[in-house]
Symmetry: C2
Amino acid sequence: MTEPVAISETERLISSDKVEGTRVYNRQGERLGTIRNFMVNKQSGRVEYAVLEFGGILGIGNEYYPLPWELLTYDAKQAGYCVDLDKTRLEGAPRYRDRDPLWDEIYGQQVYGYYGVTYPLF
Amino acid sequence: MTEPVAISETERLISSDKVEGTRVYNRQGERLGTIRNFMVNKQSGRVEYAVLEFGGILGIGNEYYPLPWELLTYDAKQAGYCVDLDKTRLEGAPRYRDRDPLWDEIYGQQVYGYYGVTYPLF
């Protein structure tokens, strides 16, 4: 099988499948989890949230934290995203466990509000 | 293992991993291929291209067509994307095989230009 040599990242762009599974660290270098997936606005093509997966063993007890895309900065040295977020701040953050939230605008405003990021017009 | 019941799509949003692997049809109902991945602008969080994978057997001879996100409309009946694109038009379209293109703005303008879509400011 010949797979193309994928340029999964340039200075400007990143491939969707490279984002998924990428580790997330905070500025203290603590590992917060990995990006499970991200939600794209169908109309505008803008990413509305990335979903950070955290905790649990073998998928049991995992928790999912929607994060505004703006929070994520890729750090080549750590080969992961670096987020300005300490663990106590994450502990109080909007999250879900067994079932995805409804992803409506009210939820969006809650999430962005928690992180002090202006909820964009998608 | 307990995986959450993922709402992979709402009226507004679609999950990244649902986009990948989705079949693409044209208006004549012909299958054009599947979405392999898509490229996101790291800064703005906007999707710049979806990559349509087409042809080949077991990965040999596949070709990859970058498409402006705006071209894709999800059609629940076909459980796939519907694109206004006949096969002859696709045959002349920008594509790559063994190696991803450089994904710079010149390339972006070529791709968007081919499909008659204004290249947005990302």
